[in-house]
C-alpha cells in the first residue's frame, strides 16, 4: 500500500504509449480504485 491507497483513479492509456490494461496491472496492489480505464488510439 502506498500513497495511492484509497484513491479513485481514472486511467487514460494510449496504444503506442502505455495502454490502460498495463496501467491497471501496475496499480493492482496499490490500494487505489480504478474507476475508469480506457485505451485510445490517436493515429
Amino acid at each position: 500500500m502506498g500513497k495511492l491507497a484509497g484513491k479513485k483513479i481514472l486511467l487514460l492509456g494510449e496504444r503506442d504509449g502505455v495502454p490502460g490494461p498495463a496501467m491497471e496491472a501496475c496499480l493492482k496492489d496499490s490500494g487505489a480504485e480504478v474507476v475508469f480505464s480506457v485505451t485510445e488510439c490517436f493515429v
Binding site: R15, D16, P19, G20, P21, A22, T39, F42, V43
Partner: protein, 510 residues
C-alpha cells in the same frame, strides 16, 4: 526456410482536400453536431494546394519520388521547407489530383451511386486518358455525366452528398438504399473512395511489375472499411471488386481486417498462400480512409499551420514464389501479438520483435531497419500524439538494452541508425510498417541493406469487442541468389537425406 519473393510495389496518394473538408470525420461530426463553427470557417484557409502537397517532402518519399534517406537531410518543418517542382509521379506511384480521383470513384461505381456533372466528367476523362496506368477498358467505365440540375435535385431531395471541386458542386454520391444505413451515401463514399485508392495502386503495381491484369491469381485487400448491408455489415469483398475494375479476370480475392495491423496480417495471409503453392501470386492491396482526412485538423488550425491531412493513402505489393532473384519475406519467424502476450509496451515489443529474432537466431543488431507506425510526425506532434515512429524505435532500443544486446549509452545511436522516419499520412492502416517495404526492397536489391523488419499494430479496442490490441511483424531479406523457398527441395536432396538416415540406422543395428 519458407520465403516468398517481392516482385514489385506501388504507393499512391489521392489529394482530396475538398472531400476532406466535408466528409473527414472531424469536420463532418463538427458540422453535424455544432453547425458552422469557427474551426470549420477557418479550416479552408489552412488547406494545401495540389502543388504544395506535391512539393511536401514526405509525400514524395511515399510515392518513391525521392529516397527516404534524403528526407532526413531536409530540415523540419517540411511544410516550411518544401521541395520545388516535384513530379506527380514517383518510381512507386503518384499523387493524383482531386478531380481525377472523383472520376476514379465513378469508374469504380457499378451501381450508379456516383453522378458527375457532364462538363466535369468530360474534363476528367481527358485528364485520366493521359495517365500512364489507365487503359481503355478502365476509362470506358467513366459515365457521360448528368445535368447539374439533376445532381442538385438528388442532394436537395434524395439525401445524396455533394462532391466538390474548385468550390463548386461537380457531382454527388447517392444513397444505395432508403432505410439501410450500411448503404447510405456517406458509407458508400467511404467504400468507393477506398476501392478507387486500392485500384490506383493496383494499376501502378501492374505497370511497375510488367504484369498483365490477367496474370494476377489472387488479391488480398487490407483496408479498414466495411462493405456490406444491414444483414451483414462487414461482408466484403473489396479485393474482388478492385480486381474486377483492374481487369484481373483470372483473380479471386478476400479481405483481411485487423485495424492498422491489417496490412501486415494481409501480407502474411497472401505470402502463406504463395509459399505453399496454393496461389501463383498474390497482390496485397489497400486504399485510403476518407474519415481520417483532417482528423487532427483542429490542432493544425489552432497552431496556424497547414492542415496536412489532405491525402488518402494507398499501396499494393505483389508476392510471387521465391526464385532467388527477388527480395524475400520470411515466413518462418513471424511476430505475433498473442491474446496472452500482455499489453505493456515491453510485452508488445517482445512479442513483435524480440521473439521472432530469437527464433531466427538473430540479435537486435542483425536488423538494419525497424519500420513501425510510419506516421508523419509533423501531423501528430501538434495534436499531442507524439512522434509515433520515434516512440516505437525508442521502445525497441530500450528492449535491446534490457536484453543486453546494446549498451545503454548506445541507445540513441541505435534509434538514429535503425529507425525510419514517418512518411505516411494518418490513414490508419496505411502507415503501419508497409510504406517501408518499397524503400527496403530497393536497398536489399542494391546491397545497401541486409535485413529489415516490418511491424504492424492495430487498435482492436476501438470496436468495443475486446480490450486487446493486435500486432504482427515479418522480416525482409535480400535475394538468396539461388532457388529457395519451402517447396523447392529436389529429388536428389531427398535421396541423399534418406541414404544418410539409412546409413545411420544400419550403423546402429550392427
Amino acid at each position: 526456410m519458407a520465403t516468398v519473393g517481392i516482385k514489385g510495389y506501388a504507393y499512391c496518394l489521392n489529394h482530396a482536400p475538398e472531400t476532406g473538408l466535408r466528409y473527414g470525420n472531424t469536420p463532418h461530426v463538427e458540422r453535424e453536431t455544432k453547425g458552422e463553427t469557427e474551426f470549420l470557417k477557418e479550416l479552408p484557409s489552412f488547406l494545401q494546394s495540389y502543388e504544395e502537397a506535391k512539393d511536401y517532402a514526405p509525400n514524395q518519399a511515399y510515392i518513391g519520388g525521392m529516397p527516404i534517406e534524403k528526407l532526413e537531410e531536409i530540415p523540419q518543418p517540411w511544410y516550411g521547407n518544401r521541395l520545388t517542382g516535384s513530379g506527380r509521379y514517383g518510381s512507386y506511384g503518384e499523387i493524383m489530383p482531386e478531380d481525377e480521383f472523383i472520376g476514379l470513384m465513378d469508374i469504380c461505381d457499378v451501381f450508379d451511386i456516383i453522378w458527375l456533372e457532364k462538363g466535369f466528367a468530360a474534363s476528367v476523362r481527358k485528364k485520366l486518358s493521359e495517365s500512364p496506368v489507365m487503359n481503355g477498358s478502365v476509362l470506358s467505365r467513366l459515365e457521360e455525366g448528368h445535368d447539374l440540375s439533376e445532381i442538385e435535385n438528388e442532394t436537395a431531395h434524395r439525401k445524396a452528398l455533394p462532391l466538390f471541386h474548385g468550390g463548386k458542386t461537380v457531382g454527388c454520391v447517392r444513397n444505395g438504399h432508403d432505410v439501410d444505413d450500411c448503404l447510405f451515401a456517406y458509407v458508400l463514399l467511404e467504400n468507393l473512395a477506398s476501392k478507387a485508392g486500392g485500384l490506383l495502386s493496383l494499376l501502378h503495381l501492374l505497370k511497375n511489375t510488367g504484369m498483365a491484369p490477367e496474370e494476377i491469381d489472387f488479391v488480398v485487400e487490407c483496408s479498414e472499411e466495411a462493405a456490406g448491408d444491414m444483414n451483414q455489415r462487414g461482408g466484403g469483398n473489396f479485393a474482388k471488386a478492385i480486381a474486377e475494375i483492374a481487369g484481373c479476370v483470372n483473380a479471386s480475392g478476400f479481405d483481411v481486417r485487423s485495424f492498422c495491423a491489417g496490412p501486415v496480417n494481409g501480407m502474411i495471409a497472401a505470402a502463406s498462400q504463395v509459399a505453399c503453392g496454393a496461389r501463383k501470386n498474390c497482390a496485397v492491396v489497400a486504399g485510403g480512409a476518407v474519415p481520417k482526412l483532417f482528423m487532427n485538423g483542429r490542432d493544425h488550425v489552432k497552431k496556424k499551420m497547414p492542415a496536412l491531412e489532405d491525402c488518402l493513402g494507398g499501396f499494393a505489393v505483389l508476392l510471387v514464389p521465391d526464385d532467388g532473384t527477388l527480395p524475400v519475406m520470411r515466413l518462418d519467424v513471424l511476430g505475433k501479438h498473442s491474446v496472452g502476450a500482455g499489453s505493456s509496451p515491453q510485452a508488445v515489443t517482445s512479442a513483435l520483435i524480440l521473439d521472432p529474432l530469437e527464433r531466427a537466431g538473430l540479435t537486435f543488431l542483425d536488423v538494419d531497419k525497424y519500420a513501425a507506425e510510419m506516421h508523419i510526425n509533423e501531423i501528430t506532434l501538434p495534436a499531442g500524439a507524439g512522434d509515433v515512429p520515434l516512440a516505437n524505435i525508442k521502445m525497441t532500443a530500450a528492449l535491446a538494452v534490457t536484453k543486453k544486446a546494446i549498451e545503454k549509452a548506445d541507445m540513441m545511436t541505435f534509434v538514429k541508425e535503425r529507425g525510419v522516419p514517418g512518411i505516411a499520412h494518418t490513414q490508419g492502416h496505411i502507415p503501419s510498417g508497409v510504406p517501408f517495404i518499397g524503400h527496403a526492397c530497393d536497398a536489399l536489391k542494391e546491397g545497401r541493406m541486409k535485413r529489415a523488419m516490418i511491424i504492424g499494430k492495430g487498435s482492436l479496442f476501438l470496436a468495443r469487442l475486446t480490450n486487446l490490441a493486435d500486432g504482427a511483424s515479418f522480416l525482409l531479406e535480400p535475394p538468396s541468389g539461388a532457388r529457395g523457398g519451402a517447396s523447392t527441395v529436389s529429388k536428389d536432396d531427398i535421396k541423399s537425406l534418406l541414404l544418410e538416415v539409412l546409413a545411420e540406422l544400419s550403423g546402429k543395428l550392427q
